[in-house]
Each structure stands twice: as structure tokens, then as C-alpha cells.
């Protein structure tokens, strides 16, 4: 039964290979992309069900026993992240049908999307640190190519910054892995969790912890390591921006979560948690201030990603079960809401022909339903009840007050006012005010030119993700029970170790 862990990795690999074999049949690419991701969503939901009822699943690749071979492990945390990935993969596959032009499709857009999803799923499911590095690289190289597909000057310029900083982070990761192996003699996460408390080299462990912190900090775009993100995320086609915005930084957050709650637990981890607390405050504030200053819709949303990462890191650093549950719910809510906002910004751009908020307007007057669809994730992100963001922030802030981090709690609340402000800014500028080009141009060229199939392909993902945000809000309880059990499981390493190594420490 534990073989199901392989499927979220194998499915996208197989679809990508088939697509590359039939490289001229773009219609087949489109079909396989949607069908493959839909299947992945089904499989990941089954896996989540299995993990919830039967405990942590683990699979030893090639039959090599745990500390020697590569282990794949699906606990609640990994399963939830894989479900979120599959959901975003599915909606992005649909959205791509309406937005990606033929040239990009001929240059392997669809297979690259599948390989990106494979890398992300692999990173979530692996139980081995070096294997995590490999999955990061799979994910990165697909994202590099997706980022430059099209070859516009600003894309190349953004990609330069993205590629350079990510390669730097990979080389730091590699160095950290090397030192860790030198001290502990193993790279299996469960085995490390057993051995690290017994090791002598506490000073070297701190070095390793800080190196991992820097690596994952760059991936997750934590202050002061986030500068690559707003420089590159607004350049590619919006379907690509959306999947990057939703998933890639969260892989970094997941890695921090895994590393500092399951693997590296020792006295020096307390230092990392202190560091994370301080950095989370800066991340929240700097991200949102950056967003407030912007008039380009995608740049505004890109800065928001950073600010939201701050909340997740804050909750992670508190380390109580409630806070971890809050962080996890926050991640899932944010993946859904943020991707949705990017989809909507793409649609608005299609309607009005510009990303600049000052040049567009009047969307609400002619497309009132789109206005409603925008308000769901926008208010959700800002934390207005009863949408998902309210519960996410509520739990994080409750955990913050319980652990007496009053200053950070007040910063978090202040930042959410600014978040609301910047969402209202998009609403006012793009939806509410009259079109600055005058009434004559309101019946827009853009929308009429899109074929009705493409309209459906662009609107359906927005509706799906919007309804997920609403469902999270109105039926919060069952979802919170799931993330809570994930948090409890994460903080008790015994189960994880037993599932992988077959013995309790």
C-alpha cells in the first residue's frame, strides 16, 4: 500500500516523457497536462486519506533498508502539501490552456510544468537530505526554463537574478549536506533525528543549522534574502508566475519546517528559532511595504508573497502545536489565495491590456462577477471573516498571544491592515474607478478577441480556487482537525522515526 507514495512523483514524470515523445502533438500535451494533474489530485487525496487513517507511510527505494537507501516518507505534513501542489497543478494546467501561446507550447511548456510538479512533490515526499537537494535541483531547472520561455528582455534579466541566487543557495545547501554527513555519517532524516541528540560536535551542528537556514531562507524569500523574488516573478507568462507564487517559496518554508522540527533538534535549534522570530517580523513588514509602493499588479502581488511568508515563519518559530497547525493551515490557505490572485490579475490584464493599475479601470462596471471573484481571495488574504485567511491569521495570532510574543503579534496585526490596504488599492484602481482612457474604450478589444473555450479555461480555475477559499472559511473545523493532527505528528519525532527505521528510539 505504501507504494502509492511513488505515484505523485511517477505520474508527472511519465506524462512529461510521453509528451516529449510526441513533441509536435500540442493537443495531446494539453490533454495530458490536464488529465495528468487531475489524476495526481485524485492520487494525492487517496494518499492523504491513507496517511490519516493508517499513520505515516514509508517506502525504501530499491529495497535498500532505511539508513542506507533512499527513503520516501509521506506523513500528514507531506501529504497535505502534495494535495495542495496537485490542486495548483491542476488549475494551472487549465489556466494555461487559455493563456499560453502556441510558440511556448511547442517549446515544451507542458512537459516542463509536469517536471516542475515532479520536483516539488519529490521535495515534499523524500526522507533523505541529499535527495531533497536533488529534488530542489529538478524543480529549479524546470523553473529556470519556464521563467525564460519566450525570451523577452525583462524575462532574461529577471531570470539572471533568479538563477544566480538560486545557484548560490544550492552550493550552500551542498556544503551544509557535506558537513552534516561528516559529523553524523548519515543523511537519512529519521536516522539523523536519532543520532543528532547524541553527537558531540555542537558547534559544527550550529554551523550546519545556520547554513541550512540561509539556503532555505533564500528559497522561501525570507528577509534579507528575498530580493530575487520581486525582481523575477512578474516577468514570465502569468500562468507561470501563478504556479511559482503559489508553490516554490512554500517548498522553502516546508524545508525549514521539516529541518528544524524533525531533523535538527538540539540546543542550538533554539538559536535558530530566535533568529526566525526576528526575521519573520522584518519579512512581514518589508514585504508589505514593498507591496504598498507598487502600481504593477504582479509586482504588488509578488511583494505580498514575501509578507505572507513572514506569518508562516513567525508561526513556525513559536513551535507550539497550535502554532505549527496554524502555520500549516496558513501555507495551504496562502497557496490557494495567492495563486488565485495571480490568475485574476492575468485575466484583468487580458481585458484591459496593461499591468499598470493607473492605466486601467472600470472592470467592475462591465464584469461585476469578476469583481466578486477577485474579492474572495483578496479579502481572504487580508483576513476578513469568514474567509480562510481569517482563520489562518486567527490561529497564528492566538498561538502568538499564548506564547507571549506580544510585539510580534501587534506587528502581524498592523501588517494585515496594510495587506488589506493594498488589496483595496487593486480593487479601487482596477475594478472601481472609471477607465482613464475614457468611456469609449471600455468595450474592450481584449475580451472579445478571446475564444469562448479560452474564457472557460481562464475562469474555471478562478472559480475552483475561490470556492476552496470559501469552503475553508465556512467549514474550518474539519480542515483544522487535519492540520492539527499533522502538527502533533510533526512535533513527535518518534512516529516518523519508527515509520522509516522500523524501531522506536
Amino acid at each position: 500500500m505504501s507504494r502509492i507514495i511513488m505515484l505523485p512523483i511517477l505520474l508527472p514524470l511519465c506524462t512529461a516523457v510521453v509528451m516529449i515523445f510526441f513533441r509536435r502533438l500540442v493537443v495531446l500535451h494539453r490533454f495530458l497536462n490536464v488529465a495528468g494533474t487531475a489524476l495526481m489530485l485524485g492520487v494525492s487525496l487517496v494518499m492523504l486519506g491513507n496517511v490519516q487513517s493508517g499513520g505515516i507511510l514509508s517506502l525504501q527505494i530499491g529495497g535498500w533498508q532505511a539508513p542506507f537507501g533512499i527513503s520516501l516518507v509521506a506523513d500528514m505534513l507531506s501529504s497535505i502539501m502534495v494535495v495542495a501542489t496537485a490542486l495548483i497543478g491542476f488549475t494551472t494546467a487549465l489556466y494555461s490552456l487559455g493563456t499560453i501561446d502556441k510558440d511556448k507550447e511547442h517549446f515544451f511548456y507542458h512537459p516542463l510544468l509536469q517536471l516542475l510538479l515532479m520536483g516539488i512533490n519529490g521535495a515534499f515526499l523524500t526522507g533523505d537530505i541529499f535527495n531533497l537537494y536533488v529534488w530542489f535541483e529538478v524543480m529549479l531547472i524546470s523553473s529556470f526554463v519556464l521563467l525564460v520561455l519566450g525570451g523577452k528582455p525583462e524575462q532574461l534579466e529577471g531570470a539572471m537574478k533568479y538563477v544566480t541566487l538560486n545557484l548560490l543557495s544550492s552550493s550552500i545547501f551542498l556544503a551544509a549536506v557535506g558537513i552534516l554527513y561528516g559529523i553524523a555519517g548519515t543523511l537519512n532524516m529519521a536516522d539523523l533525528a536519532v543520532r543528532i541528540p547524541m553527537l558531540g560536535h555542537k558547534d559544527l551542528l550550529s554551523v550546519v543549522a545556520v547554513l541550512f537556514m540561509i539556503t532555505f531562507g533564500i528559497k522561501a524569500a525570507i528577509f534579507p534574502l528575498f530580493f530575487w523574488l520581486p525582481a523575477s516573478y512578474h516577468t514570465p507568462p502569468v500562468a507561470v508566475s501563478a504556479i511559482f507564487a503559489g508553490l516554490l517559496t512554500k517548498v522553502g518554508v516546508y524545508a525549514i519546517m521539516r529541518m528544524f522540527t524533525t531533523v535538527l533538534i538540539h540546543e542550538e535549534a533554539a538559536l535558530i528559532h530566535q533568529l526566525l522570530l526576528v526575521l519573520s517580523a522584518f519579512t512581514m513588514v518589508v514585504g508589505v511595504l514593498g507591496a504598498v509602493a507598487q502600481y504593477d499588479m504582479r509586482k504588488l502581488l509578488s511583494f505580498h508573497i514575501i509578507s505572507q511568508i513572514g506569518y508562516m515563519i513567525f508561526a513556525l518559530a513559536i513551535q507550539s502545536p497550535l502554532a505549527i497547525a496554524g502555520a500549516l493551515f496558513y501555507i495551504v490557505h496562502n497557496i490557494v489565495a495567492k495563486t488565485n490572485l495571480f490568475y485574476i490579475s492575468g485575466l484583468v490584464n487580458r481585458l484591459k491590456g496593461s499591468w499598470d493599475l493607473r492605466r486601467i479601470g472600470g472592470v467592475y462596471r462591465f464584469y461585476p462577477m469578476l469583481g466578486v471573484l477577485f474579492l474572495v481571495p483578496a479579502l481572504g488574504l487580508a483576513g476578513i471573516p469568514p474567509l480562510s485567511g481569517f482563520w489562518a491569521k486567527f490561529v497564528v495570532i492566538k498561538a502568538g498571544i499564548d506564547s507571549e510574543h506580544y510585539l510580534l503579534v501587534s506587528i502581524a496585526l498592523f501588517v494585515s491592515i496594510l495587506t488589506l490596504y493594498s488589496m483595496i488599492k487593486i480593487w479601487n484602481e482596477a475594478f472601481w474607478k472609471d477607465d482613464p482612457r475614457g468611456e469609449g474604450s471600455v468595450e474592450d478589444e481584449g475580451y472579445l478577441l478571446i475564444s469562448s473555450m479560452k474564457k472557460v479555461a481562464m475562469v474555471v480555475p478562478i472559480v475552483i480556487l475561490g470556492s476552496v477559499t470559501v469552503v475553508f472559511g465556512f467549514w474550518f473545523e474539519p480542515f483544522f482537525v487535519i492540520v492539527q493532527s499533522a502538527a502533533v505528528e510533526l512535533l513527535d519525532q518518534g512516529n516518523y522515526i519508527q515509520a522509516v527505521l522500523g524501531e522506536r528510539p
Binding site: 525564460v148 528582455p153 534579466e157 548560490l168 552550493s171 499598470d356
Partner: protein, 121 residues
């Protein structure tokens, strides 16, 4: 031998760090390559050096009797080299295309993606 390798790793890290801080694209690429090599050598060195004892069980024996070179760091490095090779090849092509499209190789001049929209208008 360990000392020599430690010195080489240090030099590679120093040179790599210096080079990625330069403004010229080509130097940044070399910097990234140096950092990759430094990390690979570091894994090799930190994973203990054992001279002249490959990890093969001698014929007619059940297992090892004497210290042998740990094959795992070598496997890790091999993987890292292959990945690094692919990624670096991509980076070089990307930098070349960027140079051709943007028309400059001074990184300080590539700031259009960071400008506020007011400056572009």
C-alpha cells in the same frame, strides 16, 4: 593531504565569493562554478580521506577487516557534479542570451525589473 585540500577549498570559496560580487557576467559565472567545486571538494574532504583502500570486499572474504574509503561521499559528489554541469551549462547559455538581448554585460545596468513603475513611465 587533508590540509592541502582544506587550503584549496578555502581558496576556491574566497575566489568564488569575490567573483560573484563583480559586475561582469562572465566573472559571476566563474564565481558560481568555483563555489560549486568548493562545495564538492568539501564533501569529499569532510567525508574523511582514506588512501589506497577502495570499498571492495576482497575475494574470499565476508567483509572488511581494515578501514576503507567511504563510497557515499563519492556518490554524492558524482551526483552533484552531474547536476552542477547541467545547471552551469544552462546558466552560460542564459547569460549569453541575456547579453545579446539586453546589450550589456554590466550587471549594475540591469535594473529594469527592480524599478518602481513611476520611473518607467
Amino acid at each position: 593531504m587533508t590540509f592541502l585540500l582544506a587550503v584549496i577549498i578555502g581558496v576556491l570559496y574566497a575566489a568564488g565569493t569575490y567573483l560573484i560580487l563583480r559586475r561582469s557576467m562572465v566573472k559571476v559565472i566563474f564565481g558560481l562554478i568555483f563555489l560549486g567545486h568548493a562545495a564538492n571538494l568539501m564533501i569529499f574532504t569532510v567525508g574523511r580521506l582514506t588512501k589506497g583502500a577502495p570499498a571492495f570486499v576482497p575475494e574470499g572474504m565476508e567483509g572488511f577487516t581494515e578501514p576503507f574509503a567511504d563510497p557515499l561521499p563519492q556518490a554524492l559528489i558524482l551526483t552533484a557534479i552531474v547536476i552542477g554541469f547541467g545547471v552551469q551549462a544552462f546558466t552560460i547559455v542564459l547569460f549569453k542570451r541575456t547579453y545579446q538581448t539586453v546589450g550589456t554585460e554590466d550587471l549594475d545596468k540591469m535594473k529594469s525589473t527592480d524599478q518602481l513603475p513611476g520611473e518607467e513611465l
